[in-house]
Subunit: 497 residues, 2 copies
Amino acid sequence: MAGGKAKRGIPSKVDDFNAWYPFIVEAAELVDKRYPIKGMDVWRPYGWKAMKMIDSLTHKEMERTDHDEVNFPLLIPENLLEKENALVARLKRAREEGVDPDELRDHVEEGGFKKEVYWVKHAGENDLDIPMFLRPTSETAMYTMFPLWIRSHKDLPLKVYQMVNTFRYETKQTRSFIRVREIHFFEAHTAHKDEDCASRQIGQDLEIVDNIMHELCLPVIKAKRPIWDTFPGAWYTIGIDAIMPNGRTLQVASCHHYRDQWAKAFDLTYENLEAEQEYCHQTTYGMSERLLGAIVGMHGDDNGLIMPPSIAPYQIVICPLIRKNSEVDTISKSREIASILRNSGLRVKVDERDIHAGQKYFDWEIKGVPLRLDIGPRDIENKSVYAALRTGGKRPLTMENIVENCTEVLSEISEVLRLRASEHCNNIIQTITDLNSIEDGKIYEMAFDGTDSHAETIERTTGLSFLGDATEPYAEERKCFMSGKPTTRKVLLSKSY
Amino acid sequence: MAGGKAKRGIPSKVDDFNAWYPFIVEAAELVDKRYPIKGMDVWRPYGWKAMKMIDSLTHKEMERTDHDEVNFPLLIPENLLEKENALVARLKRAREEGVDPDELRDHVEEGGFKKEVYWVKHAGENDLDIPMFLRPTSETAMYTMFPLWIRSHKDLPLKVYQMVNTFRYETKQTRSFIRVREIHFFEAHTAHKDEDCASRQIGQDLEIVDNIMHELCLPVIKAKRPIWDTFPGAWYTIGIDAIMPNGRTLQVASCHHYRDQWAKAFDLTYENLEAEQEYCHQTTYGMSERLLGAIVGMHGDDNGLIMPPSIAPYQIVICPLIRKNSEVDTISKSREIASILRNSGLRVKVDERDIHAGQKYFDWEIKGVPLRLDIGPRDIENKSVYAALRTGGKRPLTMENIVENCTEVLSEISEVLRLRASEHCNNIIQTITDLNSIEDGKIYEMAFDGTDSHAETIERTTGLSFLGDATEPYAEERKCFMSGKPTTRKVLLSKSY
């Protein structure tokens, strides 16, 4: 059961999370890391199914909020990156000099912004005239096309998204789902008529985040990043961090409000009601396979994964007890029950393998199937099945209303996962009291209205990073930890992946 | 109506297919070709929806036939390509010298096989130690991993597939869906215990092809390619060709039987029942976005696309007649009907735009929505809707049993598309009688049991290419067109894309 001793070589999650995580990822057959390029894993069927279930939650939210799905080319010509570099360099200089970025429009210099991109400079036996790179994200690709699609206020808002492979040339240590070189990525890009409309879009994005995280049973921290951690080219960035068992935060999503900064770089304008050209205001919202990494890390235990029912490739596994010489056909009964459950939309697997029941239990526990139903001759006699919850606990369920019974137990499992995860987070997040007694594995919050130099002092003293301003500030004013000034600003600090 | 005169600048399909095709692809908003890399189009929402509907037919067939979905990295290290080159070079030399390829195992030379691949040799500011290329297809990537997954006969058959972006450095003229540089691709790869099992897999692949082509209303030619057109590394290749309106064939899918040739190159063995190591026998089955190109080409007319109902992003568009000052609320009624249809699983759009009805009709005709329902005040009075079939014809449908009525009409539309397409193909495919009077826009069949040199003569004289041996030969023996020898072999010749 959950929380027991390490089994068959599974490292202990609490004692050695850094060993537990990669072990489980491979043992549960999510990915295979033996592909001959480091940081590019092979998605195995079980892992890919889970990822696609997460994607389908996102598709549903995108449909609900009127985003259209598109698919842009992977390759981007180098000259578009130069446009981006120039934009980023200008914003940086404007910030340093305290001037309006527009004043620097004609004074751009080559950005020091070195992209960690893969380059394509050769094809067949030819050198390409214009080098291209593999998208790390698609701002430049998309904003080249948006001016062709947006003419007037009637074309706004434009809301598109795509799910694609993106690439980062990571030089740090790679880790499945968390830090990889080919990334399964979701990105939504929108264009609006003004800043307010774009701000409302950010509001909608955060609502979508809440809905998805509810389904994934993942509590998250939403924080407006400090200026030095704002996405290049953005006016502001909101980072969404999951909390891993070791207390480190993992950015699983982010939203960026671009104002009209990119629009000016890519000449993206529309004709307003007064027949004048105005710049669009833009936003993006991104998520990645890190969501799966957070699920693995947050919910798993020493027996393996625990999949939230909403995205479990199999929500229920049925194990017929195969007794030689028994006259009761447990396999047929299992198939019958499976068929009833499937007809109501549940994802069900019948494990008909003729192996020891203990081996079956082990296999499905490690894969984190939330609900197991054992069906033996006596269960059939009693018109019941024996349910084992992956979150712990066993009980008989009557066959008569098996769909309702299972649906109820699955909701219960989701609730247990949510409860455990928030308890865990509440234990980890503490109010800072003393910069010199920082505990490992904790996240700290504080009232803060200090300067960048204060922030630097805090980061240096604690070894933690600013996650930024929580989107939900304190309800009442508190004293800033550094300056003593009253403020409702709540900032968070953590070690992050 | 169908077949009428060119409207609002749409070129005539019959008179100028080469102008009609690219015009329609953009006018119907399937893709945007203005992305700054030639042959890499942007999928727009409507085109991507159609492509994903085609993909979902494929997913369904894969699930039915127990294939598991995986996802492999895009990048492949150069040394794996060298393995493939060596295999291909050996097979070529063995064929030329008429010897068993195994005899040449230790005598491999660098293959003259020049892949048209994009190379990644730089990342960030570094030169990579091992150059990598973007997958043109995934044999080498997958067969590097298969030996890690296959140990014993119990692991067989292994049947996996993926839907991914692949890349070919095309130097010929590009054409949306038909010849592009980034290709939306489906590939299934299987490993079996012996040649027979692999052959049965090819049989199953052809059955899947039939099912999918039925849904797409596309008649195809299935032909075993001549040896000089066999996929490198394959024992034999079966090409599946759609027939375009101009009589040119378009290979939309292919199956390859590899025997144990790749297994020997990648050391892919399993332990058989006698505890001996044996080589696996392998197959692949591929399809691509060319399926959408075939649909555009085959079914469209001078008013635009005609989408087969099985993959139409919208199967039905409802146009409420908006009459100012009318007391009847046609919009509410349209939404109500849409909701009833959607609940039964149909894909429905309500066009509530306040524009001229003619403009609406034009827009949805060009996008090829199979069924349009007009709802005006009088229709509501009569408890009926007015149906316009994209394949031609109009009729009232009673509202009472609107789901059954629409489902029936959609089936009828599919049948009309199938009928038109096969009539078209039957007109195009002719038996050859005289090599010197080849008509443009025709496909020829003939009884053939000649030599390669005969074949060369035929290709040179006619300017056509051998598609190969039809998978369904003549029922009775005929005389070979060249040698006069009796044979049931039916070969096909065409100009192909």
